[in-house]
């Protein structure tokens, strides 16, 4: 999204390759870390079961940023404003992610520990 902040006319086209590098690194970083974080906060026995649910969550709102793009572009004629949809969704995602609570793992009782030792 640096793209539409700093690169918005044909004479700026060469600068886009710099942002392509930045976004490529972030894109390659995002998915593994997101998957890894998901695996770390879900109970081990539920990971496989919830993987499909994770996939559904990934696509459930994928139609919305393009819808916002079409509405803004058709209404204002500005492609820069049209890309705001993606930025708004990232901002909302960030705000929600900040409030992800720490996962509390119930401690084993002494009986359970003793039983395991046997």
């Amino acid at each position: 999204m640096f793209l539409i902040a700093f690169v918005y006319q044909p004479s700026d086209a060469n600068i886009t390759y710099f942002f392509s590098v930045l976004y490529g690194i972030a894109y390659g970083w995002y998915y593994p870390s997101s998957n890894g974080y998901f695996v770390s906060i879900v109970p081990e026995e539920k990971v496989t079961e919830l993987w499909g649910f994770n996939s559904f969550c990934s696509v459930s709102m994928s139609w919305a940023p393009p819808a916002i793009f079409i509405a803004l572009n058709q209404g204002t004629g500005s492609l820069r404003l049209g890309l705001l949809g993606g930025i708004i969704f990232l901002f909302i995602g960030l705000c929600i992610a900040v409030f992800i609570p720490e996962r509390v793992v119930a401690e084993k009782t002494d009986e359970e520990k003793g039983g395991n030792a046997k």
Partner: protein, 309 residues
Amino acid sequence: MFLSLGVLQLANQAAGCPQNENGSYVSCGNTVYGMLPSDILALMALIGGLSTAAFMPYAGAVVDFSDHRLTFGRVCATILVIINFVQIFIFESTWFFMVIAQSFIAASTFMANSMVLWSYVNAPSDHDLHGITSSGRLWETIAMLSFFIVVGVVQFTSGWDSVAVARFSQALASVVGGFCLFLSYKRYEPVKAVKFLDNGKSLYIAGLVEIGKTSVSLWKTEPSAFVFLLASIFNEAAVSSYTNLTITYLAEQLQMSSTDIIIFIMINFATNPIGVAIHRCVSKAQFLFALIQTFIFSISVSLLFRIVP
């Protein structure tokens, strides 16, 4: 991506917009099928997103409640390959049909196929599962980059326009993709249903009910996972729409040629493994996740200060 560039070219031609020397089109304000040419790719993403979101509950129910997971996956893969093959025949008279076919059919069958393939991944621990998914993503990126390089070389050397390159890319994708999917499904065995469904019950309703039950269960027992998935809904929506909308922006706003856009995307893919490698070097996934979110947030803040004319 190459199909998107071909569609964009044909949409601008249909709208009668003048062409620049480098092959890009001037934003002339003319409409085609009631929309600006710059909205056509976003329309593909919109319809594709809606059809995928509507189809996923059914696909999930087939995977969980039926013994026909493998058959379902093979059918989705076959339809996906056929649709990609049909898109080789993209012309001035057929491009809008290709947009609809890509949006409605290809997007949803692709997601269903992915769901079936990943449902067969069974790792002994969460660490192994994370390793498998990271490796899978890396191989996926390498394959996409290789595809881009092949088609890019063809474009650079042949001098074809975007539509001809789109036809070649669809031919390559359907042949190579079809072969790879055939090999994949040959290795899979039929799997019994993992959950029970009463006779006469609708699979689609069962899928929706399962989504609701899982959401409530997560909220009560694993609130951190619930909030993460809620954040993921918005993050993934933005990230997944990146390609189509960026192509539109580069072509229409910056008037970049298709060759320049291909180079942009190739650089993007070529730098993905750097991000994957950085991720593997740092220990705490939570810290990474927060860091990336901060990075993305800083981008949006900088944008807010520049977007006001």
